[in-house]
Amino acid sequence: MIRFDNVSKNYGHQQDALRNVTFSVEQGEFIFLTGHSGAGKSTLLRLVALMDHASRGEVLVDGRNLERIPRREIPYYRRRIGFIFQEHRLLPDRSVFDNVALPLVVAGHRSSETQKRVRAALDKVGLLNRETASPRSLSTGEQQRIGIARAVVNRPQILLADEPTGNLDPTLSLEILKLFGQFNDVGVTVLIATHDLELICHLHHRQIALARGKLVDNNALAG
């Protein structure tokens, strides 16, 4: 489903963020991208989300080279992807409901359909009772779960998460990872970038390890 073929990425004069990275991910896989800070995990996710372009090599999703997607089609490509940020990036002046509904509003779904899907997503992350709340009034863990609800509400094929447990305590982090597991169980491909090796020991999924932009391990099983 996702294939990196000799991909490099550099930002100007800085050291390459990714260097000749090659790997592939099948549909429905659950992958941990591991590595220290600056290893290239976030860059890799950004390339999949088309937030950035590879300097060299090819990134293919469903056999389609992302470099060849015309600019006007990028939004429609992104609707197949759910992105979860470490810092949540919720819109503070909108309610929890409106935050989660954003991908559906963008896609122009009916109000009734939007309500149904948003409630289902909030129910899934255990925050159905907070739909009218402001994101500011939520705890960090709750905010992260709202971010996840927003990412999955449009039923994406791929979930990308960049350090989703970075600001959470171990118990909450495990809960969040289990939540990702539930989405993976219904066929969603999940890529989680994390440097928390202790945490991923609890889950037995494939691990892609990066160090200074290079792939150092492609097939290790976490835990």
Partner: protein, 324 residues
């Protein structure tokens, strides 16, 4: 690895219906535009006032130009046409021509100058009575002096009237007291072009003012735009609320401009009436004509829309480098 039919069905997406989606997105954009206004109320109000002042100048010039001819026509004398009739035209025939011309609504007072009276007048004023007494016949023709409203002397209407008067049977020569009218016409034309040029320059100003206000709004919502784009928003979706904001700002500015000019006109109307009275005349000045008001409102909205479009497009292009 796990590409089963069941899982594929689970991730299958339903596409919203196109027409309804478009309307829903516009509804959402209007809500966003309202939120934009609430978030930047001070800046938006200031921008609307600046746009109002900017648009007031060309609108004021346009109103001035509309009233210019009326004003000068009221204060000065009417232009005249002088028709010298053929020498074989009798006094009765000359009177008949004068009577038929009196029916033409474009023409004012018509004065018939009898040729004998004209000769006597000339002899008296020139001191050439003796020489003129030796003439066997009166060389002067009967003459018609016709007052014409200034507006009928302007442009093609003036040319047409001039041609019509020359072609009247019995008219030998027609002379038009037209120089000052033509000067007036040229001045009015200059004012008109000046209004257009100023409107073009200040219209660009309105585009820049709106663009700048919208740019501030865009930057204050940078995070939101980036997240929205990552959720699959098209550039059009991101741009739309700002376009609504820009158009509304321009429209609001146009309303302010109309209020400014109409107020100024009301304030000036009294002194102008008194001035006209001193010249022993009255003036029928025209406030902002309806079509001009509509044009200003539409142009204001278009300029605002354009400013917003440019501003957001530039931002989206810059963002493309960061977000893709």
């Amino acid at each position: 690895m796990t590409g089963t039919t069941q899982r594929r069905a689970a991730v299958r997406r339903t596409a919203p219906q196109a027409g309804g989606a478009w309307l829903r997105q516009h509804r959402s954009s209007i809500k966003d535009a309202q939120a934009n206004f609430r978030a930047n109320r001070g800046a938006v109000i200031l921008s609307v006032l600046v746009i109002g002042i900017t648009l007031a100048l060309p609108l004021g010039l346009q109103v001035l130009q509309t009233n210019f001819l009326v004003l000068v026509g009221s204060l000065g004398s009417h232009p005249h046409a002088t028709l010298f009739l053929d020498r074989d035209v009798s006094h009765e025939q000359a009177q008949a021509i004068a009577d038929s011309l009196a029916l033409d609504l474009r023409l004012g007072e018509i004065k018939l100058i009898d040729r004998d009276a004209a000769l006597a007048d000339f002899a008296g004023s020139s001191g050439l009575e003796n020489i003129l007494a030796t003439l066997a016949t009166n060389p002067l023709p009967h003459t018609l002096v016709i007052a014409i409203d200034g507006e009928h002397f302007i442009g093609q209407r003036g040319d047409r009237l001039e041609a019509e008067l020359r072609e009247i049977a019995g008219v030998s020569t027609a002379k038009f007291d037209i120089t000052w009218v033509r000067r007036l016409e040229a001045l009015a034309d200059l004012m008109s072009r000046l209004a257009v040029a100023i409107a073009a320059i200040l219209g660009t100003g309105v585009v820049l003012i709106t663009g700048n206000t919208i740019r501030v709004g865009v930057h204050s919502r940078r995070d939101e735009i980036e997240v929205t784009k990552l959720c699959g928003a098209t550039d059009a979706f991101v741009r739309r609320p700002f376009l609504y904001s820009g158009a509304l700002q321009g429209f609001g500015g146009a309303i302010i401009a109309i209020l400014f000019v109409a107020s100024a006109f009301t304030v000036l109307a009294g002194p102008l009436d008194r001035l006209a009275e001193l010249y022993g005349t009255t003036m029928q000045l025209t406030n902002i004509p309806g079509p001009s008001a509509v044009i200003v409102l539409v142009c204001g909205a278009i300029f605002g829309w354009l400013g917003a479009w440019i501003s957001v497009s530039v931002y989206l292009r810059e963002m493309e480098v960061r977000v893709g």
